[in-house]
Symmetry: D2
Subunit: 293 residues, 4 copies
């Protein structure tokens, strides 16, 4: 794996000529969205791509930060794929991973803030509001290890044991290889979160193995890892050392990101929260969701 990316679509693309039997891809469109489904079906392909076996769906839109609004049809396409990975009923726990105080890592907590929590609403209240079908949802943005002293996965695990959801949705910021994907790609996967993924690169595993229930991971790439890019550019070059120092001065992790990172993040969180809310509450329109959040 010559560079780091959290997007299975990018890993798959790099292995395209090798025609691996354990790697299946297919493409569709919905409005302006390109929908690319990657299935990794054997361990050898998992090793080569650095991604556990499972299904990875990538939605590529025109850049989010152009101000162009995503349509209701497109949100529903993303919501449909998320819903298809979840049990049809039962409590779902939505976990926003990452550090709210570091903008490119804040996709998880800021999306979580806009997901409709409903677990505490009594059937009477639901009936009064004409929302009998509201699915039970719990939402948590537990913070990162440096803030809490507790692994995020440990907190999610403890709460999962306690409230017993039928599935977990984990939302996270991702790293991509190509800057053209930043803020305009959504990846939905049924494989949970692997160690070493995420923008800040220190996630612990969240998966069916560790939590005992299906874990759907949803993310948007917000940065290109600069060291990855440097490695990408500098294959065996003799000037490498000097250039590498540009990218990783004094051991500091550098990233490549659009100048309008703040807009990108808030736009991406809106797309993700709308998609998740619609996946969990299919009877509500986007407008109704907007009024309830």
């Amino acid at each position: 794996m010559p560079y780091r990316t959290d997007l299975a679509a990018e890993s798959a693309q790099a292995l395209e000529d090798r025609r691996l039997p354990g790697l299946k891809r297919r493409s569709e469109r919905c409005g302006q969205l390109e929908i690319d489904t990657v299935n990794i079906t054997d361990d050898e392909t998992a090793r080569l791509t650095g991604k556990p076996p499972g299904e990875y769906i990538t939605f590529s839109a025109p850049p989010f930060y152009t101000g162009k609004e995503i349509t209701e049809e497109e949100i529903c396409a993303i919501a449909g794929r998320i819903a298809a990975m979840l049990p049809q009923e039962g409590l779902v726990l939505v976990a926003g991973l990452g550090n709210n105080d570091i903008t490119p890592d804040a996709i998880g907590p800021r999306t979580a803030r806009q997901v409709l929590a409903t677990r505490h609403i009594s059937s009477e209240l639901k009936a009064q509001a004409g929302l009998e079908n509201l699915r039970a949802v719990a939402v948590l943005a537990p913070g990162v290890l440096g803030q809490t002293g507790i692994e995020t996965s440990e907190i999610i695990h403890a709460v999962t044991q306690d409230i017993k959801p039928c599935a977990v949705i984990a939302v996270d910021a991702l790293a991509a290889r190509s800057a053209s994907r930043l803020g305009c790609t959504v990846q939905v996967a049924n494989t949970g979160i692997s160690p070493g993924s995420g923008v800040m690169n220190h996630r612990k595993e969240l998966s069916t193995q560790t939590l005992g229930v299906p874990v759907v991971s949803i993310g948007v790439p917000t940065v290109v890892d600069a060291a990855t890019l440097a490695g990408d550019l500098l294959s065996g070059d003799s000037e490498s050392e000097e250039i590498r120092a540009l990218f990783e001065p004094q051991g500091q992790k550098m990233m490549i990101t659009p100048r309008e990172i703040d807009n990108l993040i808030s736009h991406a969180c809106k797309i993700l929260s709308l998609s998740i809310n619609k996946a969990l509450q299919p009877d509500l329109t986007l407008e109704e969701i907007g009024q309830l959040v």
Copy 2:
């Protein structure tokens, strides 16, 4: 109890003439701080004050929002009383209660953000940094029921079961009777959090009974409940109805708060986090704490 206050000192004051045997008070000073210790020792007094039996220490400073800095000596006085309520060693979980998005309710989460989390730091790292004595601390700001769908007490309970701290510190915004106490009073109690306390008035119990370990609650009053004040003013008055409507229009909860509420909150969070950090890490100076957070 003619009005609602979370401060035992105010409840005790209102009962002063009754010379209750189950109510003990004593006063000291430290610098500009007036330190008022209330002990509630029997159930009758608990009923009359609306506060469970235990020790309540109130630190009254000149208003926080004058910009006058609290001294190191005063912080240490608060820290000392907090430390005295905790086991001498072992992991402590600090829980910031309340809603970060509602300014007067944000004392808990914003204080938590400035408490030094250390549970994840290995002994090797501590030794390297010359901080062998660093006490293990975990920090959580789980959000409120409306955001998460999970009772705060439930999340704290689940995490407590998992990480097994020897004690919990619960930080919360309080309601006072007197506006002159807003932002300039700190209450430390060994009784945990009672149902119905807190600014937003919907906390569930956090106590030794529910968590199985000592719970120290620490708070600063940020609002006067307007309905309380109205009730206070309007004993049997015939104009009551009209005036009550001023205070609680259309069922909306009103509060009385200083105009500089944002400054008050950030100042109070600084005082609380310094005091908690110093209580938990007595070997560090305030300056060292400032550099580590």
Copy 3:
């Protein structure tokens, strides 16, 4: 004037029985909005109400903070009244008054942030985007005296001299008498801003007299001045002193405000910015405005 309010509708109501010839009121409805127009036409009435002669339109909605969305028709009603107070064409300067760091005073700067600035867009660019009719708008949120050392009115004056708008819109947070009006009333007036109005109570005059062009002031009440309320309650009462101290401890200004002040403010800013944008760009739909801001 027995109490302080920035709302002419409240001042007028208090003087209702006096049937002043210089005070005219009329009421209409639009959807859920009650529209109350007060005209103050002579100096005696101005003195009695504490409001300069002119037209004051009050839009009263169900509380903003219920989450109920205001309709496009209602926004257009507010926008229409604003537009009617402005010259039909020419550059307009929108000034957001108040302190962004103090939540109840932040209506002005936060609304300004959502007003579409267009003065710098060239005719070529407008033509390319099919927006030939875009009216030229400049937007300024200059900060308050304590932050800048310069009176807000002085900054607005200097910029007005320089860019020569045909009118100024001044957006500000207001104080009301009745808590039931907080966040759910919009006042639009053609009289500019008077000294002593505004939440923080230290505005200097912004008016045709001082700026040389029409000044439309637009505001939402966010607080009830606690001293006003106290004065209101305590006419000649012997217990006054003690109670007054509850409201204004140590000279600190207290206010009464809903607990959900943060929601109230963000909702009010959305209403105001939509109304102003629609008043200035009548050819755009609300949806188009939303995409451009």
Copy 4:
């Protein structure tokens, strides 16, 4: 000029072998700070460096984001150089340039927020507080063209005409060539702000020529322009096109920045505001400044 940098020290370094007579450099140390003074004294050197003639002082510290505190001695060294570029007395206007809503561009407005505004404080009040020598300072963070529709330079010009300061300090975020300088270099220059500098790359000139008074510019580099870096790496390479696309996808400006950009910005703003406050109020200690801001 093969790449874009706002730092004269980087431009000078690139021209070192050419021994230009119009380029003078000297180095000193103060504590951990390396102080590098570049004087550009003729037009030919100005053309080659892309920097107008004048003095540029660069303070290079160990990375700001390590948490290591800058010392009082080091702040005083920066403050001394700023003070030396200003008239000894008279009103100074501090202008925070850039967009507060875009983190890497927010150095100017966030620093301005922490600069002590004093112009409005009367002599009586100063005397009462024992601060007779407080220098008059006005502070403005006018926002950027896209927010206001008015060139920043135009607003500064209008206010300068009005309040007639004896000098202007312009604070801005800069772009550097080397990522190792991000957040840990301060540049102070007596040449004002040139068109095309600044992170967002669209500043208009602020200088003695345009404002009629000395303009001291102070900045910290927060980004490396990715296109600059790409150009730097890809001299005549045949693979250039593909790689350039990585850096500037779909025309979006990319930047390279540390992951901890939010920490970097808040740390840099603290350094800058302390230095500016100390330069303007030399009689106050840093502690006193901290209590007044």
